[in-house]
Symmetry: C2
Subunit: 220 residues, 2 copies
């Protein structure tokens, strides 16, 4: 037990963390298909990463005890789930009830992972009072009280760049634990507030870079 905890306390790179959800997804599918054991070679074939990468990644967490005959799928799925914090629920709210905010509210997928959609806020009076998947759109003025009273850990930010900073300051004062940022700006938050950025324009530009590079290399 103690040895295990010591291993977990090592600083694990965000690159490794970034790969864990994908392992979790594949293992969930294997489990749903009734597969009980899988070797790192088989997993490697499905996921198109090398078996040595898989073993290296898993070694960060003590290796999950692969025997000669592979990993136990159910066990591995559950362990990675625990590492990802999916063994308990996380309440979240959405700031901004535009198309993107409503899209996030409607994702049933999140619910099945334990991310519970509790509230959605907007400053547009025409939206306030409507519902997104049974959750009432509230006035942004109710934000602080709601976050405090409903044990909200995560706020998804789908507001324009211009209002992002003010909203983030307000969220930070409530003691929010994490911000899932879709606003096209980098946020300044104190240590202890986790930020995950989804910069859609950046991802589109990466795509156009790769289109260009391929065209140059292949004279298309």
């Amino acid at each position: 037990m103690e040895e295990r905890e010591e291993k977990e306390e090592k600083e694990i790179s965000q690159a490794v963390i970034g790969r864990l959800p994908r392992y979790f997804r594949y293992l969930g599918e294997l489990r749903d298909d009734g597969v009980e054991r899988i070797s790192s070679q088989e997993l490697s074939g499905r996921m198109k990463v090398t078996a040595s990468q898989i073993r290296q990644d898993f070694n960060n967490f003590g290796g999950f005890g692969q025997q000669g005959y592979g990993y136990n799928v159910e066990y591995l799925y559950n362990e990675i789930g625990k590492i990802l914090g999916l063994d308990r629920n996380h309440n979240f709210v959405i700031i901004g009830a535009g198309n993107l905010g409503r899209a996030l509210g409607n994702y049933l997928n999140f619910e099945s992972r334990g991310f519970l959609f509790k509230g959605i806020f907007d400053c547009d009076e025409r939206l306030v009072g409507r519902e997104v998947r049974g959750v009432k759109i509230r006035d942004i003025r109710e934000l602080e009280a709601f976050v405090r009273d409903n044990d909200i850990e995560i706020a998804a930010l789908t507001v324009p760049k211009a209002s992002a900073e003010e909203i983030v300051e307000r969220l930070v004062r409530t003691g929010i634990r994490a911000i899932w940022n879709f606003a096209h700006v980098d946020l300044n938050v104190p240590e202890g507030v986790q930020v995950e950025n989804v910069h859609l324009s950046d991802s589109l530009m990466k795509l156009s870079y790769n289109i260009n590079r391929y065209m140059k290399e292949n004279d298309r």
Copy 2:
């Protein structure tokens, strides 16, 4: 000229590419603020990456000729834009006219970078014929003809996992250059079709990992 091209043909890591849009964004803001020159130290302070990282990244592209007195902001902005393929327009379509698809269609930001929203498709007859920012929602059966006739390079995929594979096969046959994938599944595409994944659940799980880790380390 030839030396420059040789440098660009080196394989540049996706990690470096992933940072370019952020440089581009900051340089655009500096330019809009009327800043003419900036040193790697100043840029480092604003962007919270080390100056040595900045210089290393830029050296992949020949360094952009920093003199003792810094980089020319306008020049650097334009050069990074060219590398990202932003010196020409890219037509894109959206497959799936749900909330997420409509959100992407409404992003004016993309337009200003030269990503032109040309079409949106759905199989739901109740949606077909409606409009998203002046663009008519078309029946998915029109997909192939539309992509071919309108010089479409990029398809944003916002359909459920179950239909993703079939749609991707159809897109690949049209000769599409890139797929911007929001479906919660990894795609199989031939070489030459670029894929950029936005797996929202994965990004949410990364956030819950970081919440958990911080709580453990700080006994919160």
